[in-house]
């Protein structure tokens, strides 16, 4: 089973380039769609099968633990959780895209770039050393810049250019952080850097170089995760992209390349110190509040969803920051930290499910009725029953209505913050949850109920493949709320213990 882990990355890449060749032969024009869907399905099945299997660290090229220069792939609990999330959302999005992409002139290019982005995101979460993380972060980012500009309308090009410039500034800071860490410790492997930094900390007070490296890394990754001082690219890029790409960007890219990498670097590389935890807490709290406040006045459906993405990802980063702060104190309360991490990671998974569901349903509405503005929609429950049912499930999940999954994850975050002693942050989380509820009540009232406006009067139900993608994500939203205890044992407890007990998981197998 272990040898199959690199195939999670290689299969999408091979199919992506295979599509480029196959399209040159005129007879095989219909093949890229089928290949893309099968590749994503195979990825999803492999990542689900890996859940119960213990995977040792894989050293690429056979350069074992004695030589510290090789690339390492680690598939611990956190990586398995992210793999399931990424491949699930990618499968639903590619099914949705089979009929949404027919409006563009080169659908094969879309599938090729989509597979590149997914393969690179899989490699980011499997990365065991810093430079491999950076390289595949860049590959996924470049593929996403091209995908945001796919329609080549003037708004999409402008949004993609802004996203590109800001994203490359973030990447430059990440590389600067990696360079400084390499020059301090002489290793690139995450486990060995952790050991070397711990030795440096025990030898004396930590010098400014580690703080500079940490600041550069956290700034670059916060830009990738669209945290509040660095969020300026997200409200332009996510609405302008085609709907399946908005779902992928908001659902998994800001999480795999932003939040996952932040959690991995703060817990497993730098070590959870109180300085880094305070930074994460402030970034998370600011994003949570400002994202929710900015999305109140939006009348463009996709722009509203983009701003609320900032807010929900702020919840996740806040929970991770509080867990790091609890662990770094003089008497670490491991139960409270574990609960914080469970809440944060559960909310990450849930947000991937319901936010991509909402973006896909907005794409379906846009295709059928031609508008994205809330004031022009209305009465869609009668005209588009499947889409509006799934949209209602998504809106209730994000608003935190029981028994959907959003309610459980927000409740766990609020309780865990209070248990860890941060009562003000807990109250802030409850207030933002109420604001989110109000925003999505407004969305439901304008989109689903009321009288249809003149533009949507002629709307019919979306094609079958688009509804299949929506239904898959809606089922996940409902099921993960009800099966929370089962999911906790299988997915989230291994993930949080992978982050908290770093010494046991990204092991090299040989003490340096």
């Amino acid at each position: 089973m272990q040898g199959i882990v690199p195939l999670l990355v290689v299969l999408p890449l091979v199919v992506a380039f295979g599509i480029v060749i196959l399209v040159q032969v005129r007879v095989l024009r219909g093949l890229p769609v089928i290949l893309a869907c099968f590749a994503m399905l195979a990825n999803l099945i492999v990542s689900l099968c890996l859940l119960g299997v213990q995977v040792d660290p894989i050293f690429v090229g056979g350069w074992g633990p004695a030589k510290t220069l090789g690339i390492q792939l680690t598939c611990d609990g956190m990586a398995k959780l992210m793999l399931v999330t990424i491949n699930l959302v990618a499968f639903a999005s590619v099914l949705f895209a089979t009929s949404y992409i027919r409006r563009f002139t080169k659908p094969w290019l879309f599938y090729s770039l989509f597979l590149l982005m997914t393969g690179a995101m899989n490699a980011v979460v499997l990365a065991g050393d810093l430079f491999n993380l950076f390289v595949f972060l860049e590959v996924a980012a470049i593929a996403s810049y091209a995908l945001v500009a796919f329609g080549c309308e003037s708004e999409e090009l402008e949004a993609s250019f802004k996203y590109l410039v800001l994203g490359s500034v973030g990447s430059v800071f990440i590389l600067m952080g990696v360079a400084i860490l390499y020059s301090l410790t002489g290793h690139l492997n995450m486990a060995m850097v952790h050991e070397a930094l711990r030795a440096l900390r025990e030898a004396g007070p930590v010098g400014p170089a580690v703080l500079l490296a940490a600041a550069a890394l956290i700034a670059g990754l916060a830009l990738k995760a669209a945290m509040v001082p660095f969020h300026a690219w997200l409200p332009d890029a996510h609405p302008s992209a085609p709907a399946p790409i908005s779902a992928m960007l908001s659902g998994v890219l800001i999480k795999a390349s932003g939040v996952y990498a932040l959690a991995r670097i703060v817990f497993s590389v730098l070590g959870a110190q109180s300085e880094y935890a305070v930074i994460l807490i402030s970034l998370g709290a600011a994003s949570m509040v400002i994202g929710a406040l900015l999305s109140i006045g939006q009348w463009d459906f996709k722009r509203l969803l983009a701003y609320s993405s900032i807010s929900q990802v702020g919840y996740v980063v806040l929970a991770i920051g509080v867990a790091a702060h609890v662990v770094s104190g003089p008497e670490p309360n491991r139960a409270a930290a574990g609960l914080c991490l469970f809440g944060g990671l559960f909310h990450l998974f849930n947000h991937a499910a319901f936010k991509s569901l909402l973006f896909l349903s907005s794409g379906s509405i846009e295709q059928q009725s031609g508008t994205r503005m809330l004031k022009e929609m209305g009465g869609l429950t009668r005209r588009m029953p499947v889409t509006s049912f799934c949209c209602r499930i998504g809106a209730m999940s994000i608003a935190g209505v029981p028994p959907f999954n959003g309610f459980f994850s927000k409740l766990i975050i609020v309780v865990a913050l209070a248990m860890a002693g941060y009562v003000w942050l807990s109250a802030l989380a409850v207030a933002v949850a109420v604001v989110t509820l109000l925003i999505f009540v407004k969305v439901q009232r304008y989109v689903l109920e009321g009288e249809p406006g003149p533009k949507v009067a002629a709307a019919r139900e979306a094609p079958a493949m688009m509804c299949v993608g929506l239904v898959i994500l809606a089922v996940v939203c409902v099921a993960s709320g009800l099966a929370m205890v089962f999911l906790r044992e299988q997915l989230f407890d291994p993930a949080s213990s992978a982050l908290l007990d770093t010494a046991k998981t990204i092991t090299m197998g040989a003490t340096p």
Binding site: G3, P6, V10, L13, V14, F17, G18, I19, V20, I21, V23, Q24, I58, F59, V60, G61, G62
Partner: protein, 148 residues
């Protein structure tokens, strides 16, 4: 002007020199494990030869030699060849492990699977950069626009 090419002197010089540039690029890629260079540098030089042909003969004039479909096809083929080299590592146990017996040091055949990977990257980068230049050359001549 972009489509008609340059003057007769440039065209004749390009005809003489392009072959040597391409061979030099392939040489740098093949000896990547012995001296600086490797697949990427060789690919850039090969693409420079293609760019020279496009500039000298114009986009329409070079259409017999360098087309969009050919660039796409060689691009994909180079990437697939690299993936095949990596997957052949499974013959020796793991992903991306060397599976060719290593020769003596300083020999041409001494790098294991590295020269094969270098040649795959040469094809991919050369075709990719030539295709990118071809796509950019499709825009008509632009004015300066407003500057700041």
């Amino acid at each position: 002007m972009m489509t008609q090419g340059m003057s007769l002197i440039v065209k004749n010089t390009a005809k003489l020199v392009t072959g040597f540039i391409a061979v030099f690029g392939i040489y740098i890629a093949m000896t990547g494990h012995l001296s600086p260079g490797g697949g990427f540098a060789g690919g850039v030089i090969l693409a420079a030869a293609a760019v020279l042909v496009i500039l000298a003969f114009g986009r329409r004039g070079a259409k017999g030699l360098i087309t969009d479909a050919q660039c796409h096809a060689w691009d994909g083929a180079g990437a697939l060849a690299f993936a095949v080299v990596a997957l052949c590592g499974y013959f020796s146990g793991q992903f991306f492990v060397n599976f060719i017996p290593r020769g003596k040091v300083h020999d041409l055949a001494s790098g294991g699977m590295i020269p094969l990977a270098n040649l795959a990257i040469l094809v991919k980068v050369g075709a990719g950069l030539a295709g990118a230049f071809l796509a950019l050359a499709a825009f008509r001549r632009l004015g300066m626009g407003k500057v700041a």
